[in-house]
């Protein structure tokens, strides 16, 4: 039975009640308790730093050469908090409600309300650490809008919000390293969870420079290892992002929840060819000012600047007048796909739409001219002034676009297309962020908890930091209070020996295939299957085909993979092979989950279930649950359902019209 451990009582009191009644560990005992944190993104770095500050003995791991390089660094647009600094009607309740609705009523009320409650503390904490958020002339913090909301609650640092937040958390982490409370292991990859008497008691890691396996003990293990979007090969994630840590836990019995909830982001730079190694996001914040359109006429080959206003279709503004260009991501992505599938796409591949800043440049230019007291400013002056404003807001994104495409987005509209971006699914966790394995926790994008079937923009950074700074420091005590009598278990315990042997055997098996095809080529093929059959639109037949194709590909992988180099050496091909092998297994579960969920919700769009206008059609009577999958053997999973109850935010058909 899945017990989500949501505290009793009214929604707005749950977290407060929990905090005032959970068990505590006294400071002297904290020093004896060891905690492993896998990952140094926003979730991992904030957790490791905060737990170190509390006095626990922390060991922290990342596969990059420095904790500061975790994928969170790449987040662009911003972080939400219900501060209501703009006096535009925001509140904890509204942030809670927007998140539940944005997630298409597939997340837990208790978790989401807690997230909204601590959102303000996150901003305060970051400011105190020296995160240089954007400010207004009066010196106060500035906000902008993101999709799926009608208020301005997003805090940002140009287009580098993730970088600045992560540097804040990284510095806090390094401070704890200097104080001796945290020991950091860079270029180490966690390859298994060690279980003793039914509890997580440690991990097996591989030193990526020497190739040596190591055993590490702890009283509790936190996985903060990020999302699995790279199962699609092409995504906006960093090249190294992978599912391995979570997948190893799954293989040891942790349930994997809602794997089919993947987010396709509407505004990314389109694919240019087969050489493509990753896709680049153009932040959602651009939809504050950019207008999305395609030509009214099919196959219109004129340059965008030559197509007059009345021959353009601003299709989001047309279909969703209330939210316009700021509809949630799933809605915006499907609308772009619909236009391109109908033949209105632009660019040489016709798989792109325009994101146009001309209107914004003009509007800002007029405002600036007014501010600077320039009377009857001519068109050139207005454009010049307007471009300066746009540059200040989005300069780094515009530069990035130009470097990649060679086109100047100040002069011509950007071409964009949806791409895989984020995964709402992940390890199942309860209210305390513990998986169904005692002592094994999961934080950040790696867990499934707060975003339902679709995450709103600027909410992942909020969740990662909420989990690490403000949730786990309380909830872990509730478990560790019962562990103060557990002595450190020596790592020659049979469970460690066995786990290390299994890891070592698997690595040898991979190296000994000695076939003909590279890891990269297999990963690309897996990605194509997933994108074509389990991407923006899915149907039962396609998913069944995909499952068959994935199995065949996996069999071929284990028969014909070629890994050069040695085991006991720095060997990036071997690292990648292990990760792709795990993606091959996860891919099947994603498709099984997508096939099982006979409804459309958020990022999961089943073509069989749509309204006459082509919107996602939920089936609350049958699918209002979290799908938590338990691995039962090769290719065999059992479904456990956690029914979702909505006491406050009553489910309705989402409308952004």
């Amino acid at each position: 039975m899945l017990n989500s451990k949501i505290p009793a009582g009214p929604l707005e009191d749950k977290w407060m009640n929990y905090k005032s009644t959970c068990k505590l560990v006294n400071p002297a005992n904290k020093r004896k308790l060891e905690i492993i944190v896998v990952g140094t993104g926003l979730a991992g770095a904030s957790a490791a730093a905060s737990l170190g500050e509390l006095g626990y003995k922390v060991k922290c791991y990342c596969f990059q050469d420095s904790p500061r390089r975790a994928h969170s660094i790449a987040a662009q647009g911003g972080i939400n908090a219900s501060k209501n600094y703009q006096n535009d009607g925001d509140s904890v309740f509204r942030l809670f409600y927007d998140t539940i609705k944005g997630g298409d009523y597939r997340s837990r009320e208790g978790n989401v309300h807690r997230l909204a409650e601590v959102s303000g503390n996150i901003i305060d904490q970051c400011v105190a650490q020296g995160v240089p958020f954007a400010r207004e002339y009066g010196g106060l913090l500035s906000n902008r809008s993101f999709g799926g909301t009608l208020v301005q609650r997003t805090f940002y640092a140009a287009g580098q919000t993730g970088q600045q937040l992560l540097i804040g958390a990284y510095q806090a982490l390094e401070r704890q390293v200097a104080l001796g409370n945290v020991k950091m292991y860079n270029r180490h990859e966690m390859l298994d969870v060690v279980m003793i008497d039914g509890k997580a008691r440690g991990i097996i890691v591989r030193d990526l420079i020497t190739g040596k396996l190591e055993r590490h003990f702890a009283h509790a293990v936190l996985l903060c290892s990020g999302g699995y979007g790279n199962v699609f090969y092409l995504s906006t994630n960093a090249m190294g992002s992978n599912v391995t840590a979570a997948w190893k836990a799954h293989k040891k019995g942790a349930y994997f929840a809602n794997p089919c909830y993947t987010q396709i982001h509407p505004t990314c730079i389109p694919v240019t060819g087969d050489h493509q190694s990753k896709l680049t996001l153009m932040s959602e914040s651009l939809r504050n000012d950019g207008r999305i359109w395609v030509p009214l006429k099919k196959g219109d080959d004129r340059k965008p600047t030559q197509i007059p206003e009345n021959e353009r279709d601003y299709y989001l503004e047309r279909r969703y007048p209330a939210y316009g260009n700021l509809v949630p991501r799933d809605v915006a992505s499907r609308a772009a796909k619909e236009r391109c599938d109908e033949g209105y796409g632009v660019g040489s591949s016709r798989q792109a739409v325009y994101l146009d800043f001309a209107t914004a440049i003009h509007r800002y230019g007029l405002m600036e001219a007014g501010k600077q007291g320039i009377e009857n400013a001519d068109a050139d002056t207005i454009i010049k002034l307007g471009r300066e404003v746009v540059k200040e807001k989005y300069g780094n994104l515009f530069d990035m676009y130009e470097k990649i495409t060679g086109e100047n987005p100040y002069l011509v509209p950007m071409r964009i297309y949806p791409a895989v971006h984020y995964t709402m699914g992940g390890l199942w966790v309860d209210y305390e962020l513990m998986t169904n394995i005692p002592g094994l926790y999961c934080l950040g994008e790696a867990n499934f908890s707060d975003h339902g079937a679709n995450r709103l923009g600027a909410s992942a950074l909020m969740q990662g930091l909420a989990d690490g700074y403000f949730v786990i420091p309380y909830t872990i005590g509730n478990y560790l209070a019962n562990e103060i009598r557990t002595e450190n278990i020596p790592t020659d315990h049979p469970a460690f020996v066995e786990a290390e042997k299994a890891v070592s055997d698997r690595i040898s098996r991979l190296m000994n295939i000695k076939g003909n095809q590279s890891v990269e080529s297999f990963h690309k093929r897996l990605g194509k299957i997933m994108w074509n059959k389990c991407g923006m639109a899915r149907n039962a037949d396609g998913l069944k085909e995909a499952i068959g194709e994935i199995r065949t590909l996996r069999e071929e992988f284990w028969r014909d993979l070629k890994i050069p180099g040695d085991i006991n050496d720095l060997n990036p091909e071997l690292d990648k092979a292990g990760r792709v092998a795990d993606f091959m297994e996860l891919a099947e579960l994603i498709c099984i989950d997508a096939l099982d969920r006979n409804e459309s919700c958020g990022g999961h769009f089943r073509e069989e279930y749509q309204t006459p206008e082509g919107e996602a059609l939920r089936r609350d009577d049958q699918y209002q649950y979290v799908a938590a999958w338990e691995l039962q053997g090769e290719n065999k999973w059992e479904l456990h359902k956690e029914e979702l109850e909505f006491e406050v935010a009553k489910p309705s058909q989402r409308s952004y019209k």
């Binding site: 990059q64 540097i167 990649i404």
Partner: protein, 254 residues
């Protein structure tokens, strides 16, 4: 934008490990599209090597968006290659033409030992941060974010310094292998904010002391670092650091 294909000669530094002496090895790659990124060109080369049964070239990379600071190639005598304000991963092949020869080496500095091929060990940067590159505030101690207004221009300046990605190109470009631009960016980021004020003296002294300890050289103000910095971190930060350092040495009781 006109796209084209090119054939290239690559001279790449190969070094098995830190003990190995290392050497240049020449490779040919054909049919490279001008739309590829520099690292995608390396992907093509590595796939070729794997096919030929050779070991691919080890290089560091992750985000491929110019923000994580992992990529680090010294291309034709310049860290991160020919484009101004651009990381290796954001450099695109339209910077080159058919028939070009491109020489690729790792960062070279005593404090950044080569690990393998183009990969170096930059953990010295983490240790410099450990020496003082933070504000000492525990989680939960913060006051409301708007309690303390910060002049916009100051906040913007702090942000510009905080944009450093810790890539180490500044060190690689410097004939003394000084880490001054990196350290000054961190010192400025924090010293410009009121929250960073209380520790500003100890911070600069500790970070500089540690920088010396790690074996980075002294700064002789040639400005090579600023010229190659992918985030265009300004030399003004070094001037600010020097002021802070001087002030701190005078005021701190050591």
């Amino acid at each position: 934008m006109e796209h084209y294909k090119m054939n290239l000669t690559l001279k790449v530094w190969r070094q098995k490990n830190h003990q190995d002496k290392g050497q240049f090895v020449t490779y040919q790659v054909a049919g490279i599209s001008s739309e590829m990124s520099f690292l995608e060109m390396f992907d093509v080369l590595n796939e070729n090597l794997i096919e030929e049964g050779k070991e691919p070239i080890a290089f560091d990379h992750d985000c491929r968006e110019g923000i994580c600071g992992t990529c680090s190639m010294y291309i034709n005598g310049r860290p991160h290659g020919p484009w101004q304000g651009t990381t290796t991963c954001q450099l695109h092949m339209r910077a080159f033409k058919d028939g070009d020869t491109i020489v690729v080496e790792p960062w070279r500095a005593n404090a950044f030992p080569v690990v393998k091929d183009l990969i170096v060990d930059r953990s010295a940067f983490d240790r410099i941060i450990q020496a003082g590159g933070f504000i000492s505030v525990n989680t939960g101690n913060a006051v409301d974010g708007n309690t303390l207004p910060i002049e916009k221009s100051r906040a913007d300046e702090s942000f510009a310094a905080a944009a450093c990605i810790g890539c180490g190109a500044c060190v690689a470009a410097c004939k003394n292998s000084s880490a001054m631009l990196f350290v000054s960016a961190k010192v400025s980021h924090l010293a410009l904010l009121p929250q960073g004020e209380p520790e500003k003296h100890s911070r600069v002294l500790n970070m500089i002391t540690h920088m010396d300890k790690e074996g980075f050289g002294a700064c002789s103000n040639t400005g090579a670092c600023e010229a190659v910095c992918p985030k265009e971190i300004s030399l003004d930060n070094i001037a600010r650091l020097n002021m802070e350092y001087l002030g701190s040495s005078l005021t701190m009781d050591k």
